[in-house]
């Protein structure tokens, strides 16, 4: 099954992610010929093959991005399609000021927020039924329902930070930029989300982990924030 696996950057054997240490490609430091940025630049100059290559690289991650955030798989397909159409339309204005991956996820995130607003508006004013996912009607091939249920219980912003880090493999700075949050807030929320997820997945380990967390914290540093003020972008 093709899928965007979690980042697994916690695994020391995993290949280090390129965006973590690299600077964004600029005119002075052009990207490698096969890089996403190079392909996008080629596409902006009319190369259809470059777009095809980009689509093949990102169709699964983008679909996964939406599939994890929407209950309806048809919505995920539509939003994915809309993302690539926006990419097509915006190709002429593309400038390699940031990683293409960040650029693409920023587009997807905006489309997702617009979709959520529309859904909320329809549910509020048009009285359409809320799209609450029914596990019995989910995609038969989807597994890991218990993980998804645990993730759903997280705070919305914590969940978004966790998903962007684990599945979209964005750096802290990129997440902070996308969600319009301070960098330290992103780190705190990510740690809190991972801790909460661990407690949800392993309830028996929660008290011990909490104890270990308390002992592991330095005296001068406050504990993981219990209540982080709601800043940044509204999801």
């Amino acid at each position: 099954m093709q899928d965007a696996l979690p980042a697994l950057v916690l695994n020391s054997e995993a290949i280090p992610r390129t965006p973590m240490n690299n600077t964004p490609p600029t005119a002075a430091f052009p990207a490698s010929p096969a890089s996403d940025e190079h392909l996008m630049l080629a596409f902006s100059k009319g190369s259809a093959e470059s777009f095809k290559e980009l689509f093949l690289r990102y169709k699964q991650p983008i679909y996964g991005f939406f599939r994890r955030r929407t209950a309806n798989p048809h919505h995920a397909e539509e939003l994915s399609q809309e993302t690539f159409l926006v990419l097509l339309r915006a190709a002429s204005r593309y400038e390699p000021r940031a990683l293409f991956r960040t650029y693409l996820y920023a587009i997807a995130f905006k489309i997702l927020r617009a979709h959520r607003r529309k859904s909320a508006f329809r549910a509020t004013f048009l009285g359409q039924p809320k799209s609450i996912p029914d596990p019995a009607k989910q995609d038969a091939t989807e597994s890991g329902l218990w993980v998804r249920r645990a993730v759903e219980k997280l705070d919305p912003i914590d969940r978004e930070v966790l998903l962007l880090r684990e599945f979209e493999e964005l750096s802290y700075a990129e997440i902070a930029d996308l969600l319009q949050l301070p960098l330290n807030t992103v780190r705190s929320r990510l740690f809190r989300a991972r801790t909460a997820l661990r407690n949800l997945l392993e309830p028996s380990a929660a008290p011990a982990s909490n104890e270990s967390k308390q002992t592991a914290e330095p005296a001068s540093s406050p504990s993981a924030p219990q209540s982080i003020p709601q800043k940044g972008l509204r999801l």
Binding site: R17, G46, K59, R68, L88, R148, R187, T215, P218, A219
Partner: protein, 442 residues
Amino acid sequence: MSTTAHPIAPEEIMAHLDGELSAARAQSVSTHIETCTACQELVNSLRHTSHSLSNWTTGAVPAGLEKNVMLAAAKSPSRPSSSGSNWFPRTLHLSRKQWMRSLAAAAAVAVLLLAISVPTLHRFRSAGDKVSVLVPLRERKTPATFGQPVDSARVTSQEEQQDASRLSSAYQSLAWSSAPAPPASARALKEYKVLPSEKGKNPTNVSGFSFSGPMIARTVSLSLIAKDFDSSRASLDAILARHNGYSASLSVSTPRDAARSLQASLRIPAPQLPAALAELKALGRAEAENQNGEEVTQQHADLVARLKNSRETEQRLQAILTQRTGKISDVLEVEQEIARVRGEIEQMEAEQKNLEHRVDFATLDLKLSEEYKAKLDSPAPAISTQIHNAAVNGYRNVADTLLSLILFFAEYVPVLFFWIILLCVPAWFLWRRWRHALADAI
């Protein structure tokens, strides 16, 4: 591990595993993890959690997605390079927000064009009215000669020059149009304006009052600052006498330690208004001037027609009274009707006279102020008096302000409260519902 001596925060360990630390800091954290059991447990826990997420798969991409996107990519026009020779603009691919912005910009431009063009058109019309008003002024003379045919030979050269200057100024306001420039002299202007076929026309000729053009009731307001108030006051009387005008009302104010002022409502024969106005302006510095012209042709014609009908009705009633015989009650009824019609006729005649008077005599509201010079003969009040007066005024201002606030709240707070309840409560319910729906969508 000691709570007080642990040098690495768990979030930093997580950041190290995420590759978010600098090389030097990552080295020290890595060294610490190798020696710290609690940190090793934390590392294992984080790795396990991350690994658990790998079970969340989303399935394969639907086949329709690739098909649709590739179809759209094929339809999308190939982008020419910036150095290409294709100079045609690329197809606009605007988002909804960009479309909205473009439409808003277009609407703003349209509004701007309207805002510019409407006053220009209005000015054009005003200039047209200004030209048309000159025809009756030229064909009429003083109020004493109403109803008499205009004898162009009796028009003095001075009036011709005045009319010529007015016509010229009117045409100057039309200078941007492509119309040919009219002749300069008044006589030539009249020939230019009045066509031979129109000379015999007399559309309105009732009760000895004839017009061949629109009737304009003109009003002018003028504010002057005069250096010598006394001489200006005397000149004002002379100007009025010279132009056969009179003052409908006049009041002079001579306050202490302030400039004297004169306010008057002058009535000047309409043909002599420009000359009188020019002479009045010479009395001092014109501070403000406003001229208006109200066309009352339709109103006058309507009045004349109604008057004619009422007179005919009266005549018929008189004939009935003299020629027919009947009961006393019928006779009384006819007499009552005659009295009513007579009352209407007199009222309409008064209105007509008033209307014609407004046309004959332009109204000039004059405000003549003296250029004030402070005098030393009146000593300023003592400082203590000034402080006392200021304190009293301040107290009054505070009291007035408080009273105004209380009155405002007493008057409008119930209405505001009513509208708040009427609008905000449903809005709050909708907002709350929308927030819940948004939270469910997330």
